[in-house]
Structure formats: structure tokens, C-alpha cells
Amino acid sequence: MSKSLNLFGGTALGTVAVLTMAVNFADRNIAGFPENPPVMTAIAPPVVSSGLVAAANASTGAGEGKFGLGRPALAEEIAAWDLDVSPDGTGLPVGSGSVEDGEMIFSENCAVCHGEFAEGVDNWPELAGGEGTLADADPVKTVGSYWPYLSTAWDYVHRSMPYGNAQTLTNDEVYAIVAYILYSNFIVDDDFVLSNENFLEVEMPNANGFIIDDRAETEYTIWRTEPCMENCKETVEITMRATVLDVTPEEEGAEAATEAPAVVETAAVAEPVGEAAEAVTAAAGPDPELVAAGEKVFGKCKACHQVGDGAQNRSGPALNGIVGADIGSVDGFKYSKTLAEMEGNWTPENLAAFLADPRGYAKGTKMSFAGLKSDDDIAAVSAYLSTFE
């Protein structure tokens, strides 16, 4: 999943060369940065309220300033929500999982976005590789090359993954997936079994790669100074232009705004004939309210499926015209064996059965979604999908 921003459009668009060229160009043409104005005595950074901690430490009076609101949290409630795991292993539940099991579970639950070898698909994050690239121009930051603590990976997989179906994995499955990610990064061997007992023995390659924010010493002392106002540099040259890269989105809204007719039609006076006719035609299709509800339900599917204009296959197939279509027949999508070989069509009934229990209906499907629990939701999403030819 991509919680990461791919911050360099050139990469995604295959215009790395352009970006590099432009930067090289820039480097050659920088006319020497103007000397910093004389650094005056640095103004002391503001003291951040350490008095607050002292004051809070001092006020120990029980019930002091309390409002008596809220209620005590129950142990079961705390256990249900307090799942975080710290670098020293605090919070890890008992359990274990092997690389071997992890490979299978990863393939079923994670590979659609992260790739079979944790190498990442499309813009989704790669989880393996990148060793020794952190000082390069385009560092590859993965669990192996960058993450300092294994607890972070376990905690994150446990609470936030699989994307769009979070908190559905068992503890042992999480151990197995994390073991497989470690294996993909050559940190452990293929016969490794990760457990709460050997968890802290795993050495993360970049554990010592972090320093605590040092801007106060390395930057603020330099930049807290009286700035130059006149004759600050001898020459100024443009060294790079954004338009060269051509990665700025077009502004559709601007078109709408400036091309909208200037005359506002006041209310709906007369001539409703055409509109009424349209409304009648529309009534023959699915119930608009149901379709609208289905569009909302489809939010659960969007991470993997596209539908509508320009829809393309992603982790899941594009879904235009899916209602009524042959099962496992969307062009260019690589289906699981089960769906590829399944006979029949996506009739509303078949679709409903599949959506209620994907893996029960099609054992081995790559769709990691757990299924829609409500029949209303299933009917709604089915109606919504039926509106796309």
C-alpha cells in the first residue's frame, strides 16, 4: 500500500532523465551562492515550556482540578485497543510464525500491492531491497534498508494491514509475514521462525542510522540572523523551470468556472418536458438511491478495483460491465486459477455469493477482501456496478 508519497513525479512518469538533466543543468549554472550575511550572535532558541512538566510534577494532589467526567476503562477494553508494540518488545503477544508459512500468507494477502518478493507493485511500497542506497541520490527505503526497529514492522502489519482489510490477521500470521519480510531482505534464513521469544535477537541493519533532530545546532544557529536587504547577490540566473518537467495536473475546475454560461437560469420555469422524459428513462434502470448507496460501499473496493471512465486493472480487475460478464474474463487481468477456470457469469446471484464470502466462493482467489457482511450492501454495490457498461 502506498502511504508513501512518491515525491518525484519524474520517477513515476519515466522522465527521470529529464529531471536529472535539469538538475545537472542547474548545478552547472549556479553562479555561486551569495555569501551569507555576517552571522550575528545567535538569538537563543525559545525555551519550550519545560515549566509545564515541573508544574505538573509538583501538583500531586489527588482529584485536584478534576471534573469527574468519563468512566473507568475496563481491562477488556484496554486490551482491545492498546495494541501498540514498542522497540523493547513491550506489547508483543505470545506467538510465532515461519518464513515458509509467511511466504504463503504474504502471497495471499500482501503480494497484490507489495509483489511476491516484497519488491512493490506500481506505486505501492517496496518492502525489500535498497541495502546501501541511503546516501544515494534516490534512496530506496525498505524494512531491510531503513526501518530501525522490528517492532515497527510487526505493529504496523498487525494493526494496519492488509490494506483495506486491516486487523484481520491472527498474531501467528503476523509473525509469519514479518518473518517472510525479513527473509526477503536477507536478514534471516529460509528456515527461520519468528516468535515473541527471539524477536529482540533480530538485528535491523539500519538500527543505528538515526539521529535525534539537531536543527537547533546545525541550522537555527546559522539562520537566526539579521537578513541582507540590498546588494545581496551580484547576479541572478534562472537555473531550472517547472514547466520543463510537465508534471503539474491540469485544472479541470478552471475550465468549468470560466466557460460556464454567464446567464443564470432562474428556477425551473416551464419546459420540463425533456427532463421528465429523461427521468422516466432513468427510472427503468436501478434505483438511484441504491446506486448511490452502492457507490459508498464501493469505497471498500477502491483500493484494488477501478470502475468508470478510464478504469484499468490494478491489484484487482477493472469492473466496467462486470455484472453479467463471464467469470474471470476481464482482459489483461491475471486471475487465480480458481476464477480463471470457473464456469458461468457474474449474475447478480453469483456476484452476491462471491461478495458475501470471496474465499468461500472461490477458494484461492487473489482477492484478500473478507467479504461484505450486509445483504443491503451487496445489493447496493451490485446495483452500482450494473451502471457501468
Binding site: 476503562a73 541572478v236 508534471v247
Partner: protein, 424 residues
């Protein structure tokens, strides 16, 4: 490729054609006789407009439909884990309307009813507590205006000028008036006696959505100005900003402003969650990375003229305007340069800077159609001066993503069009 500026260029050309036709609207009247918009009775002066209740919750008039958030699709794999941008080039003043304030989700914007909302405080507290939304409304409330800036704002510009518009280079920011309860009040309600010495303690905050986004905040900050907020600009938070309750962490990176806040845990250590290790850390040229870089340093940008807001009125009086802010406190001064940083003049602040809030600046000037390399440079109450990109690169190299607070340059051309450029 060459069509990149197409829409805004078209808009620009239309506007300048209109301007060229009669120099200015006022000029047109003088040159071509009386202005029919004045001499002829217009429809709107004759018949009714909309009655009340035409739109029980009002939206901007159709003519403003271009003032919307925009996404840069290639940045992310999916909109449920993505960001869009505030149209700062088209706004004025300092308060960002909620409807166009940027969104950043890690697993989509969820719908959580107030009735289903629970907030837990646990960990090293005397009594772990659960609050309902109604409980929160019974604590003393505070009102504060703060900016919220994503740490990645301007992150796409590290390696060079890339996105052509202030919305895209600087639009991961908004500024709202929040109503909420001080986190200090809630921590006190649970009791911090069990935490012992507070100096080395942390507060871990976590959201209710599927991303389970969680961040560690040092106790010192937690007891200072952090707010558990449920209103923004006077009304309920929007779904996309964490309805019904979000955390407000003044001056610190937006990722810590946890939305759909569901849990606050007092801890002996930082959790070192995904968003404070693998993301939101700053890799330096030698490959080591800074962590816990929470504060957003002083920064500013000219919002108009800018690539999406070209000059369409020709030579004469020109208002140059923009925004400035600092996570260290109030903005005290903004300087503007028209020549790429050779000379600077001090802009007028619309009102005195407020701590950790956006400040609007204006330079009321004359423009004679000459090329301009427009820059702005903010100073805050600690004496910090916004650095150039070169200064930042000198310290950090070019591998950084987050915390790019460099001085921005717009090249304004004689025809009034503007472009994002980098200068020597």
C-alpha cells in the same frame, strides 16, 4: 508535453484578451462609450434571485468552482492513501474554509458518528478512562487559530522546481480556528501521578481509522498547547479532517494531528511507530536520518501573482500577497524580493503575526511589465530567517522529502504569466 500549462494558460489568455480589448474594464467604458452593465437594466435587477433555503448549507457560487482542492495523481498509488492541496493561490485572509482545506488520509476518510465515538486514556495514568463525545463537551473549552502543515509540503521541490502552482508547491497547509479541550485537562482527569517524573514520559496518540495512525508526543508538548478539538471555524470538523474529534498539535507536523482520535496512552518511551521511523524522518546526504523533527520551521510563499494566479490587468498598481507561518511562534516580518533575492523590501502584515498561525502579507506596489523573480522571506519571533533552497541543501543534501521550508521563486513574465523556477 508542451500542453502542461494548458488550462491555466487558456484561462490566462482569455483573461488577458479581455484586458487587452479595453486595457481595463474602466478604460473600456471610457474608450467605447457607456458601459451597458450600468446603462442597461440587468436581469438580476429585475427579477427574483433564489429564496432562502435554496441551499440549506451554502456552497460557493458557481463562478468560484475552480477554487477547489486538487490531487497530484502520480504522487500516490491510490486516493485512499494520498493527499490533496489547498487552493491557496485563490484564497485571501488567513482562515482556510474547511471545504477546500487539504486532506491527507492513510486509509480513507471514515464516517464515525458522535454517538459511536469513544476516547480512551490509558497507560501510566492513575485511572484509565473512557470518554464519550458528550463527555468532552463538558470540559472547559478553548479557541485557537493554528496552521496545520504536512511535513511533506514543498517536498516535491527538493531536487528542483517541479510543480507549477502555489497550490501544488505549498498547498499542504490549512489554518483554522479550533474549539476543543486542552489535552492537559484530559490527562489531569485521568491523573498523572502514576507516571512518576514526567520529564522523560511520552504520550502516544492513535486514530480510529483502518490506518491506525499513531504518533508519540513528548510530555512537555502534550502538557503545553495540544488541543483535543471537535470544531473548526465554528462548525463540526469535516469528515476528511477527522470528524468528530481530532488532535491539534500547534506548530508541529500535520501527521501528528491524529484524526478520529480514539486513544491517548501515557508511556515511558516513544512507540517508534511507522509514521515516526520509516516515514516523516529526514535522510541527510551521508545516509543518516534525523528523527523526531516535529517543528515546522518558518516559511512563506507569494500566493499571488503565481502560476495559477497570473497578472491579468496589465501595468500599474499591483498587489503582491502571500502567507507566512512558523511552528516556533509568531511571524514578525516578511520581506519580498522582485529580483530573485538581490534586493528586498519589507511587506505589510495584514495584522500582527499570531503564534503558530498563518499571517497574511501584502506588498502594494507598481508594476511596469518588467520580468520579476518574486520571492518572499519570513522571519519569526525567535529571529529565524527562512533559508534559501541552497542553504537547506548545504546542510541536508538533496535526499530529504520533508521539512522543505525554502524560499520560493516565481518568474513573472512581461505578459503577466508566472512560472515556478529555481534561481542561482
Amino acid at each position: 508535453m508542451s500542453d502542461m500549462l494548458k488550462p491555466s494558460r487558456r484561462a490566462f489568455l482569455r483573461a488577458s484578451a479581455a484586458a487587452a480589448a479595453g486595457l481595463t474594464a474602466a478604460g473600456a467604458a471610457r474608450a467605447n462609450g457607456p458601459d451597458p452593465l450600468i446603462t442597461e437594466v440587468q436581469d438580476w435587477a429585475t427579477v427574483f434571485g433564489d429564496g432562502v433555503d435554496a441551499t440549506p448549507y451554502g456552497l460557493p457560487i458557481q463562478y468560484e468552482s475552480d477554487v477547489v482542492r486538487r490531487n497530484v495523481e502520480w504522487l500516490t498509488a491510490d486516493t485512499t492513501s494520498s493527499i490533496n492541496f489547498t487552493p491557496i493561490h485563490a484564497l485571501d485572509g488567513t482562515i482556510t474554509p474547511q471545504g477546500c482545506a487539504f486532506e491527507r488520509h492513510h486509509s480513507g476518510a471514515i464516517e464515525l458518528r458522535k454517538e459511536d465515538y469513544r476516547l480512551m486514556i490509558n497507560g501510566l495514568v492513575d485511572t484509565p478512562l473512557v470518554f464519550t463525545y458528550a463527555d468532552l463537551e463538558r470540559f472547559p473549552r478553548e479557541n485557537h487559530v493554528y496552521f496545520c502543515e504536512c511535513a511533506a509540503n514543498t517536498g516535491m521541490e527538493w531536487a528542483g522546481a517541479q510543480l507549477n502552482g502555489a497550490q501544488f508547491t505549498h498547498g499542504m497547509i490549512h489554518n483554522m480556528e479550533y474549539t476543543g479541550v486542552s489535552l492537559r485537562t484530559l490527562l489531569n482527569e485521568a491523573g498523572l501521578g502514576a507516571a512518576g517524573d514526567l520529564a522523560d514520559k511520552w504520550v502516544y496518540v492513535e486514530g480510529a481509522d483502518a490506518s491506525s495512525n499513531g504518533r508519540s508526543i513528548p510530555m512537555d508538548k502534550a502538557l503545553d498547547d495540544v488541543l483535543v478539538a471537535f470544531k473548526a471555524n465554528g462548525e463540526a470538523l469535516r469528515k476528511e479532517h477527522g470528524y468528530p474529534v481530532r488532535l491539534v498539535v500547534p506548530g508541529w507536523e500535520g501527521n501528528m494531528w491524529v484524526k478520529w482520535l480514539r486513544r491517548i496512552e501515557v508511556m515511558p518511551n516513544a512507540v517508534e511507530s511507522r509514521e515516526e521511523t520509516s516515514k516523516y524522518t529526514d535522510t541527510l546526504a551521508d545516509g543518516t536520518s534525523r528523527k523526531w523533527t516535529w517543528v515546522m520551521d518558518a516559511k512563506s510563499v507569494v500566493t499571488s501573482p503565481s502560476p495559477q494566479a497570473p497578472i491579468t490587468h496589465g501595468a500599474g498598481p499591483l498587489v503582491i500577497t502571500g502567507l507566512a507561518w512558523s511552528g516556533h511562534g509568531a511571524i514578525t516580518r516578511v520581506d519580498v524580493s522582485k529580483d530573485g533575492g538581490k534586493t528586498w523590501e519589507t511587506a505589510r502584515l495584514a495584522k500582527p503575526g499570531e503564534k503558530m498561525a498563518l499571517t497574511r502579507f501584502y506588498l502594494d506596489t507598481e508594476w511596469n511589465g518588467e520580468d520579476m523573480l518574486l520571492q518572499s522571506r519570513a522571519m519569526d519571533e525567535t529571529g529565524y530567517v527562512q533559508p534559501t533552497k541552497a542553504q537547506l541543501r548545504e546542510v541536508r543534501g538533496e535526499n530529504s522529502i520533508y521539512h522543505n521550508n525554502c524560499i520560493q521563486t516565481w518568474h513573472v513574465k512581461p505578459n503577466g504569466e508566472a512560472e515556478n523556477v529555481e534561481v542561482s
